[in-house]
């Protein structure tokens, strides 16, 4: 076992309240020291300015997809990672960020139409596996931390970072 080997991960957020990011920053209280030994946080916008998406082992993606530009960005992430994990309810199911898909009345559509015309909004908000292959799902609002731990553990073992 190469003790210098680290799992190269990226953490990404699309349309959501970023509650799983916040939960992760809480998990760091007790786990940062051990994770720094085995994980290379190559992309983590909430914590660092110098980010890179190239050559990721695992990409963790929270949030739903609201626009074509977000979809393109998601595909770019998928192209740069070996495995991709959907994090939290919005990424896994679309909800609740996709609530606007259900706005039925003409009046509401008129109001939302203004924004959707002025910015790059897609007609519908979608979950991430409608655009890219997802290898694992960590459901929950915010994500279930025990499932997150076991998923992280799975990839640390798969890449022979830990035994």
């Amino acid at each position: 076992m190469d003790t210098n080997l680290k799992l190269k991960i990226g953490w990404f957020s699309f349309t959501c309240c970023e509650d799983s990011t916040i939960l992760l920053t809480e998990l760091l209280n007790d786990h940062l020291e051990e994770w720094k030994k085995v994980i290379d946080f190559k992309h983590f916008k909430a914590l660092k300015t110098n980010n890179s998406i190239e050559g990721l082992d695992v990409a963790f993606v929270e949030g739903a997809i609201s626009s074509e530009s977000q979809a393109e960005e998601l595909k770019k992430i998928r192209d740069n990672c070996k495995y991709l994990v959907a994090i939290g309810a919005c990424a896994c199911t679309g909800q609740p960020s996709s609530s606007r898909n259900n706005f039925a009345t003409d009046e509401i559509n008129f109001k939302t139409a203004f924004y959707m015309c002025h910015f790059d909004y897609s007609k519908d908000v979608k979950k991430i596996d409608q655009f890219v292959k997802v290898d694992d799902y960590v459901n929950g609002c915010p994500m279930n931390k025990d499932v997150f731990f076991s998923t992280m553990d799975k990839y640390l073992k798969m890449f022979k970072i830990i035994s």
């Binding site: 309240c17 909430a46 980010n51 977000q70 609530s99 259900n102 939302t112 924004y115 915010p142």
Partner: protein, 433 residues
């Protein structure tokens, strides 16, 4: 720098997605745009037609980090729409849960986002595993501070994010008071670490001074995030219900969130910890004041970087406030206040970690939501942020682009902006205009 286009695609170490575009021509800033880039979720539209009981927990999803603020503000607005008056015990328990939120949320901003600026590094991930390193000490202080804040909120509200126990009229389940002595001990235990942080943020050398107005809730009896009137620097006092009447929303076509102008002043205005300490420092917990007198003397301040110091001071205040409540509260068995539904309008205004937060709820007599509005702190601070940045760039055009970008990010970060909050809602007035 005579002519340049400076773009920061993604401002980092903040909550959500924002960017900055600056156009410089002939040594003048001719255009500057602070771009809130998170996509709207139209949650204030989504709640229309829903039963009021479902709304607070749904709207807590506006924001991951200050979900408790949206939860409590929504509960307050709906309670007022229904004429429900929560008990004194409920208000004390909400205050306890909120103290925990402030401790954790401020510590996240100060130690995870701002601390690298203080240390001159990119990230807390770059802090060496060296116990003698000052950054290492502060970072590990923050782990303890955040953990205790989270424990406090969890003990009262059931979770730190999208808490399940607070509800309209009270709490679904009361906390177990046998936990309180241990909580008091832990809160006492982190005081020394918080004081170290206050000193560190007091010594942060950065300065960005510009006159603006300051708005915050003020309760004349005590430092209170949940109850009071909205006041400003010149002494204007507005009841929560009238707050919206004093705001004019401003179209910012390149931003996914509106800005706001306070109609009582010609200046732009700021909401957040700096406003609260500027306007309410006389009301801080007495034990807090006794320990931080020297640091308090810088307030009132027009230095935006003192928002960081103000947050550090509020952490200590919340610790001391929670210790007092936990040590004195005698819980009685209470169920949430329940009343038959009525048609009504209610306004909730509270101080979220990042500043004054407004929720308006209108219901019909079946208890269904007919209209809802939210005004969040970051939307209110947008104009102020842009004006600060314009001043900074105009005074520092001799600096290289890398320095300008770094300093601009630091100024933005000092505001502790939250883009998730800023893009949840739909301003109908804008569309009609």
């Amino acid at each position: 720098m005579h002519t340049a286009d400076i773009t920061i695609e993604n401002i980092t170490k903040i909550e959500g997605t924002a960017g900055l575009q600056v156009k410089i021509e002939n040594d003048k800033v001719v255009d500057l745009k602070f771009l809130i880039k998170d996509f709207r979720r139209f949650y204030t539209e989504a709640v229309k037609g829903k039963p009021l009981v479902a709304v607070p927990t749904f709207l807590s999803r506006i924001c991951g980090t200050c979900s408790i603020a949206h939860l409590f503000c929504s509960i307050e607005a709906i309670e007022k729409s229904q004429g429900i008056v929560p008990s004194e015990q409920t208000m004390k328990l909400r205050r306890l849960a909120y103290d925990g939120l402030m401790i954790r949320d401020h510590a996240l901003h100060l130690y995870f986002f701002v601390l690298p600026d203080l240390l001159g590094i990119d990230s807390i991930l770059d802090i060496p595993e060296d116990h003698d390193n000052f950054g290492h000490q502060l970072l590990h202080d923050s782990f303890d501070i955040k953990n205790v804040g989270s424990e406090l909120t969890t003990a009262i509200a059931g979770a730190i994010i999208h808490a399940p126990l607070p509800t309209i009229g009270g709490f679904l389940k009361l906390p177990d008071p046998t936990q309180f002595p241990a909580l008091i001990q832990k809160l006492e235990g982190i005081r020394v670490q918080v004081l170290r942080g206050i000193d560190a943020f007091f010594k942060m050398p950065d300065t960005m001074v510009r006159n603006s107005d300051y708005l915050a809730l003020r309760n004349d009896n005590e430092f209170n995030f949940l109850q009071g009137n909205v006041v400003n620097t010149s002494g204007k006092k507005i009841a929560e219900e009238q707050f919206h009447d004093f705001l004019r929303s401003v179209i910012i076509p390149y931003s996914q969130a509106e800005g706001y102008v306070f109609s009582d002043t010609k200046e732009d205005y700021f909401v957040g910890s700096l406003s609260r300490i500027n306007l309410n420092k006389d009301l801080l917990n007495k034990r807090t004041v006794a320990d931080i007198g020297q640091y308090l003397s810088v307030f009132p301040s027009d230095n935006i970087y003192h928002n960081n110091l103000a947050q550090a001071i509020e952490i200590l205040h919340c610790i001391d406030d929670a210790i007092e409540i936990l040590g004195s509260i005698k819980l009685v068995d209470e169920k949430p206040v329940v009343q038959p539904h009525v048609a009504g309008t209610g306004v909730g205004v509270i101080e979220a970690p990042r500043g004054t937060l407004y929720h308006l709820a209108q219901t019909d007599e079946q208890g269904m939501i007919t209209n809802y509005d939210v005004i969040v702190p970051t939307a209110q601070n947008q104009i102020n942020i842009e004006n600060d940045l314009k001043k900074y760039f105009e005074q520092n055009l001799d600096k290289d682009e890398q320095t300008l970008k770094l300093e601009a990010e630091k100024i933005i970060r000092a505001y502790d902006p939250c883009m998730s909050c800023a893009t949840n809602f739909l301003k109908i007035e804008w569309i009609r205009s």
